[in-house]
């Protein structure tokens, strides 16, 4: 059995039940973020999908894959967005290699 149940995503709104003010503030903020602004909702959806993958959040992956399909975003566009996230994630690991190199250079004369 998995800790994650896809049906739990439908219960997300219920978090307000145990802390109404904070829950509502969160959802107000969340909904405002995804409105049309300097970026289009379509661009925001692709960013959300990339971040969903780097955060490895199954709920977010389900939600923003569906959101992308609803917006007519193609699977090629979605996969490129996932690669952007993956590239940043792997780059973030790899850039630490400089720390390793610095340490080697300092310790090993």
């Amino acid at each position: 059995m998995s800790y994650y149940d896809p049906k739990d995503l439908r219960k997300f709104g219920r978090i307000t039940e145990w802390s109404e003010t904070l829950g509502e503030k969160f959802f107000d903020y969340y909904n405002s973020v995804f409105k049309e602004g300097a970026l289009t909702p379509r661009e925001k959806s692709l960013i959300a999908l990339a971040v969903a993958h780097t955060e490895m959040c199954p709920y977010c992956i389900d939600a923003y894959t569906k959101d992308g399909l609803e917006r007519g975003i193609t699977k090629e566009e979605m996969m490129e967005a996932v690669h952007v996230g993956a590239a940043i994630k792997s780059g973030a690991s790899l850039v630490h290699g400089v720390m390793m190199m610095n340490k080697v250079n300092k310790l090993d004369s």
Binding site: P6, R10, T40, P41, R42, K66, L69, E70, R71, G72, T74
Partner: protein
């Protein structure tokens, strides 16, 4: 004619879902039977304070038959080349009588492929002569290039100022062909170019070409205006195709789309999506308030979906031969859980979003 993929109608496959009783049973069971999700009737009463009732007749939608040159994966009509149900000229004459006596603004012709009815052109010209304000033909596009006898349909449409409404599920070949059959995308592009050549889609002309988008799977359509802009840009950039507007339609959970939802294990999630996306504003503007749907045999329904579920109107006069103008005066509309499809998100009707 292109060789479309060999999907068959539910009827030809002898699928249990070819029986409308089976479909209605599925719609009443599951999350609705156990009370987990509210029944559509309760949701409507809670929202409007009363049941759904007709207001007036603005659109007479006539289904000229279930025969079609395509077999689309999500067809709610279960149409296809094997379906032989075709409206007779006598029934068309009865429809024309109703057009005249009602003074209806819009005559909306659908199918199947309505152009395959041998009396299609006669019916359109007669309706035009009756002075009906708008004649819509729901064309699958590929029929125009399917056979030489249909190649002049664009000119025929133009001569009669027909409002052409064409299905186009996506601007990519892959998504379109997956939903509507192999080769459909290329034939649709050819047909759209032929329509453009006679003046359709040109904002300077009075020839209206609208596209119909419906999702390729178990998800709702996104924002209609945003989709329209995307389609306009992509079809223009890639093919130089112009069109006027785009109707974003929700797939209703009946017939072949219901079959797909069940087979792909998406049924329950999809129903939840529809229920949770219920929009009170859409419920106040559903198309059944001002539409009457006529079957190929002349029987009357609240909408094309109820027609396919064999749910006739709630009146003793059930045939177009019995049409009287008071049929639309506050008649109770027949509903089931499939109706959630018309009230989800921005709402969905044969003219696209309703809010």
């Amino acid at each position: 004619m292109s060789q479309f993929k060999s999907l068959q109608s539910l009827r030809k496959r002898h699928s249990p879902l070819a029986q409308t009783e089976r479909q209605l049973k599925i719609l009443e069971d599951g999350i609705f039977a156990c009370g987990e999700a509210p029944l559509f009737s309760d949701k409507i009463k809670q929202t409007l304070g009363r049941p759904l009732k007709t207001t007036q007749l603005d659109i007479l939608q006539v289904n000229l038959g279930y025969m079609c040159n395509q077999v689309c994966a999500h067809c709610h009509v279960d149409a296809g080349p094997d379906r032989k149900e075709i409206m007779t000229k006598e029934t068309m004459e009865l429809c024309l009588e109703a057009v005249k006596s009602s003074g209806v603004k819009t005559l909306d012709l659908t199918g199947g492929a309505p152009e395959m009815n041998p009396n299609f052109r006669w019916f359109v010209t007669q309706a035009k002569a009756c002075g009906v304000g708008e004649i819509i033909v729901r064309s699958n596009l590929t029929i125009i290039v399917a056979n030489k006898k249909y190649h002049d349909l664009p000119e025929f449409f133009a001569q009669n100022k027909v409002h052409v409404v064409s299905s186009m599920p996506h601007w990519t070949k892959e998504k379109t062909d997956r939903q509507r059959g192999s080769g459909v995308f290329e034939d649709s592009i050819k047909a759209l170019k032929m329509l453009n050549e006679v003046g359709y889609g040109n904002p300077e002309r009075d020839l209206v070409l609208d596209l119909v988008y419906n999702p390729s799977g178990a998800f709702l359509p996104g924002d209609q205006d945003a989709l329209c802009q995307d389609f306009k840009r992509r079809l223009d950039e890639s093919f130089g195709i112009k069109f006027n507007g785009l109707f974003a339609l929700t797939n209703l959970p009946i017939s072949r789309f219901l079959d797909y939802l069940i087979a792909s294990d998406n049924y329950e999630d999809y129903m939840w999506t529809l229920v949770e996306s219920f929009n009170p504003a859409a419920a106040r503007a559903v198309m059944c308030l001002n539409t009457l749907s006529v079957s190929w045999e002349g029987y009357l329904y609240d909408c094309d979906f109820n027609q396919m579920l064999a749910m006739p109107i709630n009146d003793s006069r059930k045939h177009i031969s019995e049409y009287e103008n008071d049929l639309m005066d506050g008649r109770l509309i027949k509903i089931s859980q499939h109706c959630y499809g018309c009230t989800a998100g921005a709402g969905s009707s044969c003219q696209g979003a309703v809010t």
